[in-house]
Symmetry: C2
């Protein structure tokens, strides 16, 4: 539980100090707003930190702690800014963008795969996607320390920024015409967008993508685990890199 | 808990009836052997079912059931025999062999990937590998119903049987010389052996393999999740199949 901060004062102090990376603040719908809660909301807004009002049942796992109906979820790592990332030099580099991946174990496996395949960063949105938490850190088997995770408020803006910076954007979509291996990934910086397991990549991102690709299925059963889908694609880009003539 | 049978009588009756697939029988080290326990061991041996003596703490999750220090873990699916599998016609077909995969979620993801990639069967050993259980069934997202799982008592014998039946055997090994994409997987039946995440494929199996291959790493961090490693390799075989000239 060292990735959770409990109670009004502790959450407020963490916001004021600003030295720990807060993924999200959860506030019970059952508590009355007071000056401290208002101050917390104000500080969170200013810092671009998501806060959500949730049913009191969400606090059951923390019953033994004096949480007062408010907790902050802490990331074990610092996130990087996209702008900061883009000021660095990238050549024939790759990024992975996660759009709605919810499972911590999948995120951990994705981080491992990205590090092994030399991916230079992973972009996640601050909402509707799992954040880096203790389970992600554990299932990443140390890989989280070898790759920056870039958190953005809007994936649409992030993808536009990438395109303006001469990155090519590849989105995965089960109904795409091209197979993922029909793209030549060499000699460009590219970002691959992976969607939620059921919903896929958001329409607004599919529209922005330079390429949409699918993984061809040899059986009429289209239900790959998202980390496995990414692995198939990302190691094809590695194969192309290493066999380039 | 509908994948567990509790208590001496229930376990004995399941063994006699033989209509449910038993993964393993666990017996507490703390119970005294009696006629029923002896009979259970005898029936299990005859049926080739693994039984293990374990510390009584293993029974803590079942405290509310009248387990009498003995439980049988049930598979939600029937396993297939290797001989039965090999009597069917296979052409340019693939098999996946798991050697020491312990995590149920990984096994579930592997089953999904195998079905999507048209793999015709998955071979697991009866010991030192996760069996099909309720978590595997759930994380397979239904895929378990689309592929046979073949359980064998010895992977070494199984690999020898495959080789005698003109299957080619490919083992993954981090120190292999060949990259997985340097093999031509077309025009043959092949089986890919994936090892435990830390230990890798057993030496006895590496010796038997026709090919050993590695996944090249672009960063000095060799720690892919086993289902992601399999996905990279198996979709390369799909790519070769679909782009064959």
């Amino acid at each position: 539980m060292d990735d959770i901060i409990f109670g009004k004062n502790a959450v407020m102090e963490a916001l004021i100090a600003g030295d720990r990376e807060i993924n999200k603040i959860l506030i019970s719908k059952n508590i009355h707003s007071d000056n401290k809660i208002n101050k917390i909301k104000e500080l969170a807004k200013a810092a671009g930190i998501v806060f959500q009002f949730v049913a009191k049942e969400k606090f059951l796992p923390y019953a033994e702690f004096n949480h007062q109906g408010i907790i902050a979820q802490i990331s074990p790592v610092k996130y990087q800014d996209l702008d900061e990332f883009l000021t660095q030099k990238h050549e024939n580099a790759s990024l992975v963008i996660l759009d709605g991946v919810e499972d911590s174990h999948n995120f951990g496996a994705i981080i491992r795969t990205c590090v092994c395949a030399g991916v230079e960063g992973i972009i996640i949105p601050s909402r509707r996607n799992v954040q880096v938490n203790a389970i992600v850190e554990k299932t990443s088997a140390g890989a989280i320390n070898h790759i920056p995770v870039i958190k953005v408020n809007s994936l649409v803006s992030a993808v536009q920024t990438l395109k303006n910076s001469d990155w090519w954007v590849v989105a995965t979509d089960a109904s795409a015409k091209d197979n993922y291996y029909n793209i030549n990934y060499n000699d460009m910086n590219f970002a691959i967008i992976m969607g939620a397991e059921h919903a896929g990549v958001s329409k607004s991102l599919l529209k922005l993508a330079d390429y949409t690709v699918k993984i061809p299925m040899l059986k009429d059963f289209n239900s790959l685990n998202v980390s496995n889908a990414l692995s198939a694609i990302i190691f094809e880009t590695v194969r192309q890199k290493l066999t380039k003539k």
